[in-house]
Symmetry: C2
Subunit: 299 residues, 2 copies
């Protein structure tokens, strides 16, 4: 079944111990849609400036991603510059230029409004609500957020959380959102705020998920070939949601395998700058890594 994603589309300049990429295509909607397009038809909502290179548009279209909802506004594309240290954890942000993203007001193409699976990438919660208002009772709504919105627009964010079925969030955000030091207790508390399903991203340590009373936990797929961690979380969410959309519904078993595939897609993402590696991988490579992952994890 098809999948809608709303989020940022960016030009990222990234410095890592392996080198530098200037103005590569990035943003949550890009990583998510490229990742999820391995599994399901994806429809993207976002905004770029007139300076957004045609080649990047081509990359998305080559993946079969529907970009009728990608608006080209007068002005410059959202830019982010970041630098990663030797351990590839939290990057230092060198520059953030919102540009056209500052005035983004998503107005969905008519044909998008009955898409059954919706992912609200990390944008202002008011914009996430604006997207939801335009949708006709989707069967699954998932959302991401970030510490900035928790600290600066908790009311709108709580309204989003009330309306969604699945929250995809990291450990720091669980703590900020709930005030709980125990991540498990925090995730359970979020379930009482609305979403039946909570997926907690733990970076290099993997992820866990709760849906109703079901629980699932997974380490990260171990790769030594880390080139650029940017987009790992969005690729994880894209693999997860793409898999669930392909299956047509969320169930404990689909969530479990969605987390597995999300983990694998995230592991490929970080093995190249920007979306380079995501563009290259084939279903065969993903399934080969799935078999290897099972062999080093299950008992």
């Amino acid at each position: 079944m098809s999948l809608l994603v709303v989020g940022s589309v960016a030009l990222d300049t990234v410095i890592t111990p392996h080198g530098e990429l200037k103005e590569g295509v990035g943003g949550s909607a890009v990583y998510f849609s490229v990742a999820s397009s391995l599994f399901s038809p994806v429809h993207l909502v976002g905004v770029v400036g007139k300076d957004f290179p045609e080649e990047h548009i081509d990359k998305l279209e080559t993946r079969g991603i529907d970009i009728d909802g990608l608006y080209v506004a007068g002005g410059k594309t959202f830019r982010w510059h970041g630098r990663y240290g030797e351990d590839f954890t939290d990057p230092e942000t060198l520059l953030t230029e919102l540009n056209v993203f500052a005035d983004f007001s998503p107005d969905l193409p008519e044909k998008y409004r009955d898409i059954p699976f919706v992912f609200l990438g990390n944008i202002h919660p008011q914009l996430q609500l604006q997207v939801l208002d335009q949708m006709q009772s989707p069967s699954l709504i998932a959302a991401d957020t970030m510490n900035y919105w928790i600290e600066n627009d908790m009311d709108a964010l709580m309204e989003v959380i009330k309306q969604i079925d699945m929250l995809v969030i990291n450990e720091l955000e669980v703590r900020l959102l709930t005030g709980k030091r125990s991540i498990l207790a925090g995730a359970e508390k979020i379930q009482t705020m609305g979403p039946a399903t909570i997926v907690v991203k733990r970076g290099a340590y993997g992820a866990f998920a709760m849906t109703g009373d079901h629980f699932f936990v997974l380490p990260a797929y171990p790769t030594q070939n880390v080139i650029d961690p940017t987009g790992a979380g969005d690729s994880f969410a894209g693999g997860l949601m793409g898999y669930i959309a392909e299956k047509g519904k969320i169930s404990p078993e689909n969530l479990r395998m969605g987390i597995v595939y999300g983990t694998l897609i995230g592991s490929f993402c970080i093995e190249g700058f920007s979306i380079k590696k995501l563009e290259e991988i084939t279903p065969e490579q993903v399934n080969k890594r799935l078999d290897h992952f099972r062999s080093i994890t299950c008992f």
Copy 2:
């Protein structure tokens, strides 16, 4: 097969958000031996002072732990006081009194010298070497260490590492020991220093292991009922080594299941102060948790 452990025997005073325990029995050799005694006969080497309560000795003997190598020296027992915060990570050390442990010089009972499985708990690497010198070609030698020895007696520690088959170590120690920021790359580098098997403890995030070309990674067993994390790493090592000694040899498959059992025993350990929970658990409870762990982890 039987197992020798050398390490600290302590009286721990621990403050956690759940309360305080004054002068509970602790120390690496205690946690390790209680944990491993669930699987294999254990022989302990350590030292206490004349103030060490008889009831703690009784607890060890009740578990079938051989304490002929536990020396009672003139003076006071090693004491540690620590306080854990809400997140139960690195405790604040409030007091460390080495007491009789400062002059510890392990002299093994004759009957200990042909024990096939040896675990060198976290003590001065010179003492770890002194124990090894007294052993008659054990079939598996494993060791733990800590940042203090890496920073203060690297030469002796490198000699230990050269002689052992398995190093059980945490992520910080991997980085300090190898200078590598990538834990995977660091673990591989340690393999070139001597031990074919490296087990990396990641606290609340689980553990991974390498043996030759084999790799295995596991998240921690999720428990919300954390009372006192003291001894989790030593209980993990005890479960791991106890299981391998029970099987009679290390193999990739035995290592894998050893890591699983170590993880489970560690998860029980933190559900009570001191060794309280470890003393209570039965093989049936461990196997029940094993089944649950598999159901939430494997795919």
